[in-house]
């Protein structure tokens, strides 16, 4: 069977096509129109796989743009999709930490990726990819460079959780001559603290997986591991876990 799962996030739209034993992935910036982003993802997946649209049995869509996209057979929440996706990659995982562009969430799962509980933060940018993006700009870096640029040995604590105040705090810190690498480590620590608090409130059960765009950043992974006191697994396809889950649910007609 051929199915597609699409995860339209605030920053990136991700797609996962399952064609019997093979699969294809696609990722593009969401841009201003989640609907068009979803459409483009389908086109990319079809082009990459050499399939025609009528060969696709089902399309499931998730992510914040799911309601704007009208070509799906079903919409599913990103919570259920991440749970399903992770269960496929690591069957022993019981806690998922997902940090995306505009929200962060913690999901507790049981066997076969059954969702047991979840918590979400999307009220403010603290503890999300947006927070790191704003800080990277203030430091004259691209957000993708943060992970390798940190120096935890010279950690400079960032005390503001608020994006606006944290930005002026790091500008002040730079002005005092503090090392950039230490400031970046402090930023990662601040995201880790925030999300770990949400995870602890719900209860962390090992093993723990980390997904979403921010999971690409090894500095945030390091900080999270320190804050929750457990090893964290980051799948190679950490940005695609939601799309993978959507595709698997489409396959199972779930």
């Amino acid at each position: 069977m051929i199915v597609i799962g699409i995860d339209i996030g605030s920053v990136a739209a991700k797609g996962y096509l399952i064609n019997y034993d093979s699969h294809h992935r696609a990722l593009i910036p969401t841009g201003w129109s989640p609907r068009e982003a979803g459409q483009t993802i389908i086109e990319r997946l079809l082009a990459a796989s050499g399939l025609a649209s009528d060969q696709v049995e089902r399309i499931y869509v998730t992510g914040y743009g799911r309601v704007a996209f009208d070509q799906a057979d079903k919409t599913v929440t990103e919570i259920k999709c991440h749970a399903r996706g992770i269960a496929e990659l690591y069957s022993e995982v019981r806690t998922i930490i997902d940090i995306g562009g505009q929200d962060s969430k913690v999901i507790r799962i049981g066997e076969q990726g059954r969702v047991l509980d979840f918590a979400m933060n999307d009220k403010c940018a603290a503890g999300t990819g947006r927070f790191l993006q704003v800080m990277a700009t203030a430091l004259g870096l691209d957000v993708s460079e943060l992970g390798d640029a940190e120096d935890p040995g010279q950690m400079q604590t960032i005390s503001s959780m608020c994006t606006v105040f944290a930005e002026s705090e790091i500008i002040g810190s730079l002005a005092r001559g503090n090392p950039k690498g230490g400031i970046i480590a402090g930023l990662h620590q601040s995201v880790g603290k925030r999300v770990a608090a949400m995870a602890r409130r719900m209860g962390i059960k090992e093993q723990v997986a980390f997904t979403g765009g921010v999971a690409i950043n090894p500095g945030v992974k390091r900080a999270l591991e320190e804050e929750i006191g457990a090893k964290i697994m980051v799948p190679e396809v950490c940005q695609y876990t939601g799309a993978l889950g959507a595709a698997l649910l489409a396959l199972e007609n779930g």
């Binding site: 309601v67 599913v76 929440t77 919570i79 969702v115």
Partner: protein, 378 residues
């Protein structure tokens, strides 16, 4: 037929507004109340019309924030905003206001409201299992009675109070009978319908008619053939007060195909098991007993709320619980932890939502509610 009754409840606000206006012109007195702790029997016994003024609209909040802090619960801001802008006709018609010290925000807001209308604030104790707190509450009821007699220039006899007790007891029974219809699966009433009917109580100037209409709904449902087959999830709503105007969580949940089958909040089931004991000699003591038993989160400790919730989860065959806290309502927010523990111990999904009266978080509420509904195995 059921639709007609529901439309009747929905238009209760408008209809009663005109009735109250007329009654005022003929010399009747109106007393504005804000909370289920207000012993409305005393207002009825004084021959006045009690009207619920609890603010359920975002509209006057901006005006309220000119005086009150922004980081305050929307219910208090809305209630005060309506008063300050004189945009609630029921507040406008009220001769006199009764408030209670349920929470810090409310008691300080009532101090400010005194500049707008005569306000009588009852000192509500926050412990309901000691003699001292009970005696204080009895004394507060007597003070209210005296104040009503003075302000409205009437005298209230024990007989007057007992008559009012009978009316309110009957009304409570009638509302409970309507809510209890939803123990059936599928539920005959939607959450929006229950809310509309229950909320119209606060405006009804004719209790007899209200009771009659509630009985009629129960009878109508009994006569209906059970034809709807549904596997829709059955959700219980608890937490802060919800009324018409702040029903977004009920609406979203039902738009996603679930039913709010029961509501534990104060316009819902919270007070419905509580009847004034007519075997007590002093009606004031009888009223004090009933009102102090209300399981609001402002009470400490508050075990009856958890007992009631557990019973409702079983009686209404609930699949999941949503606990709604209005922003900055500390007591419900903190109590959410205990409620969550109880619900999860029964093996059910539990969703705690923190929100305000705006529509700015509809999408994030949706994803949470949807994810919770996905957790239900049915």
């Amino acid at each position: 037929m059921l639709d007609e009754f529901m439309q009747g409840f929905a238009s209760a606000r408008e209809v009663n507004l005109m009735r109250i206006k007329e009654a005022k012109e003929n010399g009747a007195k109106v007393v504005g109340i804000y909370c289920t702790y207000c012993p409305q029997e005393l207002i009825l016994a004084a021959g006045a019309i009690p009207v619920g003024l609890c603010g359920m609209s975002e509209n006057p909040i901006a005006a309220a924030e000119e005086t009150l802090p922004r980081n305050l619960c929307p219910l208090i801001k809305s209630s005060y905003g309506f008063a300050a802008t004189d945009t609630c006709p029921f507040f406008h018609f009220s001769d006199f206001i009764v408030g209670e010290t349920t929470c810090d925000g409310k008691k300080k807001m009532f101090e400010m409201m005194q500049d707008l209308k005569p306000v009588h604030v009852m000192q509500l104790p926050h412990v309901n299992n000691t003699k001292a707190s009970f005696d204080l509450w009895v004394e507060e009821l007597r003070c209210l009675k005296n104040r009503l007699e003075k302000e409205l220039q009437v005298s209230i006899s024990d007989q007057d109070i007992w008559e009012a007790v009978e009316v309110i007891n009957k009304e409570n029974q009638a509302v409970k009978a309507m809510f209890d219809l939803n123990r059936a699966d599928p539920p005959p009433l939607s959450g929006m319908e229950m809310l509309t009917a229950a909320w119209s109580r606060s405006f009804s100037s004719n209790k007899g008619e209200m009771i009659k209409n509630l009985h009629a709904v129960v009878e109508e449902v009994a006569n209906q053939p059970e034809n709807r087959q549904t596997k829709a999830p059955r959700v219980l709503l608890t937490g802060c007060p919800v009324g018409l105007g702040t029903e977004k969580v009920i609406r979203l949940t039902e738009e996603m195909g679930a039913y709010i089958v029961a509501m534990e909040n104060c316009s819902g089931y919270k007070t419905l098991e509580l009847q004034t004991d007519t075997n007590v000699t002093d009606p004031i003591v009888a009223l004090a007993e009933k009102y102090l038993a209300i399981p609001c989160s402002c009470m400490s400790p508050n075990p009856y709320r958890l007992e009631l919730l557990e019973k409702m989860i079983d009686d209404f065959r609930v699949d999941a619980v949503i606990d709604l806290t209005w922003q900055a309502c500390h007591t419900y927010n903190i109590e959410a932890f205990a409620v969550g523990k109880l619900v999860k111990s029964k093996g059910l999904p539990y969703l705690h939502l923190e929100s305000d009266y705006s529509n700015s978080d509809l999408e994030s509420l949706k994803v949470r509610i949807e994810a919770m509904l996905e957790m239900i195995e049915k």
